[in-house]
């Protein structure tokens, strides 16, 4: 198995996909030490943006990994209009594109709650530390507890404690 996080993000960036980094990689970018095996991004779910995602990943043999027959990720007009989440496995690893984030809202809300992050290939956006914590708190999942503890500690260390 392969997981090339940076290359996947770079591909989205190069194709000018509108996206915000969320999930485990966002944790890592903020300083959490846990390892994650997929890339989660929140995207604007418009036909135009989904076509950009398709173009960015097309040569990586993307498959809908949640479907029993691992259907190829190929958009038609209906899918481009109606998809709300895309869970993919590609030659460079797993990437999930979501239309909203729990505790934050849809793409516009996520964008408003994001900050820029400078990566080697260019500047991207990721959920702010405060928004990431809020999102994980709203989910209340056991699997997030350790990350949440680290995020709160980092927030405290950086002096970004909520009032």
């Amino acid at each position: 198995m392969i997981q090339e996080t940076e290359t996947l993000l770079q591909r989205l960036h190069t194709r000018e996909v509108e996206f915000v980094i969320i999930g485990g990689i966002c944790n890592v970018l903020h300083g959490v030490t846990l390892v994650t095996q997929d890339v989660d991004v929140c995207c604007r779910f418009t036909p135009e943006n989904l076509r950009r995602i398709e173009a960015a990943l097309k040569d990586l043999h993307p498959l809908h990994r949640q479907t029993p027959k691992k259907l190829p990720f190929v958009l038609d007009d209906r899918l481009a209009r109606e998809l709300r989440n895309i869970y993919l496995r590609t030659d460079l690893g797993v990437i999930d594109c979501l239309s909203q984030v729990a505790g934050i809202g849809d793409y516009d809300a996520v964008l408003a709650a994001s900050v820029t992050v400078a990566l080697a290939f260019g500047t991207c956006r990721m959920l702010s530390l405060e928004a990431l914590i809020r999102s994980k708190e709203s989910l209340g999942r056991e699997q997030d507890l350790l990350a949440l503890r680290q995020l709160r500690a980092i927030q405290e260390r950086l002096g970004q404690n909520p009032p």
């Binding site: 990689i25 300083g31 030490t33 400078a118």
Partner: protein, 96 residues
């Protein structure tokens, strides 16, 4: 101060056992190296809570000294190591 806390400048060396140049005597060094991780006494409540939950906060300290780009690369290195260690799925086709 609890026995699991220390001040950031406290190296934990017993002065009575230290040599003239301030280095710990051999016995003290062994004691020091055998100490379990400690949480800085001036750490905030969230930091202490994460430490108490078992998080190695020295790794978080290290991560906070890095840029996000370096954190991403370090994460990739860790992930590559994990994936390399993962046993490959046994083949059902023995070839016989």
């Amino acid at each position: 101060m609890s026995d699991r806390e220390h001040s950031p400048n406290d190296q934990g060396f017993a002065s009575a056992g230290a040599s003239r140049d301030g280095a710990p005597a051999e016995g003290d060094l062994v004691d020091l190296l055998n100490q379990p991780p400690v949480c800085a006494s001036d750490a905030g409540p969230a930091w202490k809570a994460a430490f108490a939950a078992g998080v190695d906060m020295s790794l978080v300290e290290d991560a906070l000294k890095m840029t996000p780009q370096v954190r991403l690369r370090e994460h990739q290195r860790s992930l590559d190591q994990i994936l390399a260690l993962r046993p490959t799925r046994p083949s059902h086709d023995s070839g016989n």
